[in-house]
Amino acid sequence: MEDRSKLSISERIEQKTKGSGSSSFMEKLMPAVFLLCAIISILTTLGIVFTLLFETVTFFRGVPFADFFASTEWYPFFSEPQYGIWPLVNGTLLVAGIAMMVAIPFGLGAAIYLSEYASEKVRKTVKPVLEVLAGIPTIVYGFFALTFVTPILRAVIPGLDVFNALSPGIIIGVMIIPMIASLSEDAMSSVPNSIREGAFALGATRMEVTVKVVLPAALSGVIASFVLGISRAIGETMIVSVAGGASPGMGIDPTGAVQTMTAYIVQVVKGDAGFGTPIYYSIYAVGMTLFVFTLAMNLLAHYISRRFREDY
């Protein structure tokens, strides 16, 4: 001890650093560990793709490819089953379309209010509240749609069926509002204040600043949030399973029952389809279609936010 304390700190540091092999071991080990973590995410995607692909191929051994894409009838449970995917796609897009008609205006409006008008305090309270809204289990939304929204809508719209596209569509929209609001708000608040000030200094009102400067500047982020919203609406499962019915069809009438790709998967998983039947494999084919759809949406969002990003 006596000896060591005579050494200056710098000398002691030099002594220590000479003998330290462990830190260089960590230096080599940790990147590998982290890389491994990162690779798992890629493996997950590969896992999804292979799982879906494998069983989808089995499905197409029994059901001609052409039927799947050319037929507009989806009746897998009929004595002469029909496996045309389009009715499910149609139902999915119909519900997602309704959802976006709710989510885009309200989400964007909320984002604008929070980013451009609200005080810091309001923003700080509302954002977590909206996050709560986004975190409510979808099963809860599903029963809310079926037992609350549908009866109200039926009172207003006489021809509305018990199962319809409208009610789950609206509720999915409501569920997505926070996501769009939050992502758009992020995009808008990252528009530098200096640009806003530039517009104010020209005598613009707040609305003129928002609509003509901030929104265009944040457009890539805002549109990306819409696309992500659509992708979420397409993938939403329980709300449509509960409130949308199970009637695949090609109509675009929102008052009637529909079936979405996700709802079909749940129907079969919960249902009676025998092992090894084409119905069983069909959920993978539908899952694959769903995956391709959301993948396309996500790539689109990615592309938009890359391609049109403004560097301030």
């Binding site: 960590m26 230096e27 940790m30 982290f34 890389l35 973590c37 990162a38 798992i40 995410s41 890629i42 997950t44 995607t45 896992g47 999804i48 799982t51 879906l52 309200f106 989400g107 964007l108 409006g109 604008i112 209010y113 008008y117 509302v126 977590p128 709560v132 809204l133 975190g135 289990p137 979808t138 099963i139 809860v140 939304y141 029963f143 809310f144 609350f148 409501v174 609001a181 009102t205 609305m207 003129e208 928002t210 992500l228 992708s231 993938g235 499962t237 329980m238 399973s241 996700t262 998967i265 749940v266 998983v269 899952g287 995956f291 959301t294 993948l295 949406m297 996500n298 790539l299 990615h302």
Partner: protein, 299 residues
């Protein structure tokens, strides 16, 4: 020369009060509309909560928490589901946390700029958008069948952890990215190695953000019904899971089952169950908000 011919007269901008007041009205109306949009969202939340509370609050009881499911609504409880959900979290939370943070650190601190990194990035943002029911199919095929885990807590937890992984990665990357380069440079400038800088500066500094993201991601996982249904969670269990290979049921599955029952009382029990799950979510969200406001450093 260039200033002489004033083609645009200054008067043009001497706006008559009418035009100006019109612009003011527009401005007000626009603000109102945007406020309305925000208020609508919050209103929906309130209506939803009131609806659930009015239906379920009378049926909240201690029994609901300590009893197992039963055919009699009066005796029915969600102990198994509650325990199942907690077990799922116990599996999913550390796994997705470690994997998520590891991935984020790799991407933010180590990844070279190359194709692999780009692929990784695209891959993760895509994974975040894959519908949960598809994750269910993944879990069913790989964990249940291929690895032979069956409909066990482990299979469920693994499935959920993959489901929330991308969300955690994105949140963690943001948090790590928010650590100022300044501070990292200070560490390097003292002769710290990369790992030392990451371990002692980057991770501790971004931890609040990472934790917040993780909690929010997990609170989403708690409510996920579809993937759990797909991997075949049980519906009636009169015991709590004893190990990773036990069968389980989870709260949303239990609620889904109750709402499908013919007896009216079960609908009410379901509403009470929803209240419990919402309480759990509020609790987790408040922890997240607390961490965020309390520990997040402003640079």
């Amino acid at each position: 020369m260039k200033f002489a011919d004033t083609t645009v007269s200054n008067e043009r901008y001497e706006e008559n009060t009418q035009r100006l007041s019109k612009r003011h009205i527009w401005n007000k109306a626009f603000k109102g509309i945007c406020f309305g949009a925000m208020a609508f969202s919050i209103l929906m939340l309130i209506v939803l909560l009131i609806r659930i509370l009015t239906q379920g609050i009378g049926f909240l009881s201690w029994d609901l928490i300590v009893n197992f499911a039963s055919r009699n609504a009066e005796d029915a409880g969600m102990l198994a589901a509650l325990a199942g959900t907690i077990w799922l979290m116990v599996v999913a939370a550390p796994l997705s946390f470690v994997l998520g943070v590891g991935t984020a650190v790799y991407m933010e601190e180590y990844a070279p700029v190359n194709r692999f990194t780009k692929l990784l990035q695209t891959n993760i943002s895509n994974l975040a958008g894959v519908p949960s029911v598809v994750f269910g199919l993944l879990g069913l095929t790989i964990f249940n069948r291929l690895l032979g885990l069956g409909a066990s807590v482990l299979a469920g937890g693994l499935t959920l952890s993959l489901l929330v992984l991308p969300i955690i990665v994105v949140a963690s990357r943001e948090a790590i990215n928010a650590v100022p380069t300044d501070v990292k440079q200070a560490s390097y400038a003292m002769g710290a190695t990369k790992w030392q800088t990451i371990f002692r500066i980057v991770i501790p500094t971004s931890l609040p953000g990472i934790l917040t993201g993780t909690i929010l991601a997990l609170s989403r996982a708690i409510g996920e019904t579809a993937p759990i249904l797909v991997i075949g969670a049980l519906t009636y269990v009169a015991s709590t899971p004893s190990d990773l290979f036990s069968n389980f049921t989870a709260m949303p599955v239990q609620i889904y089952d109750w709402t499908g029952r013919p007896q009216e009382e079960f609908q009410n029990i379901a509403a009470a169950g929803i209240i419990i799950i919402l309480l759990m979510l509020f609790f987790m969200n408040s922890i997240a908000v607390f961490i965020r406001t309390k520990f997040q450093k402003r640079f």
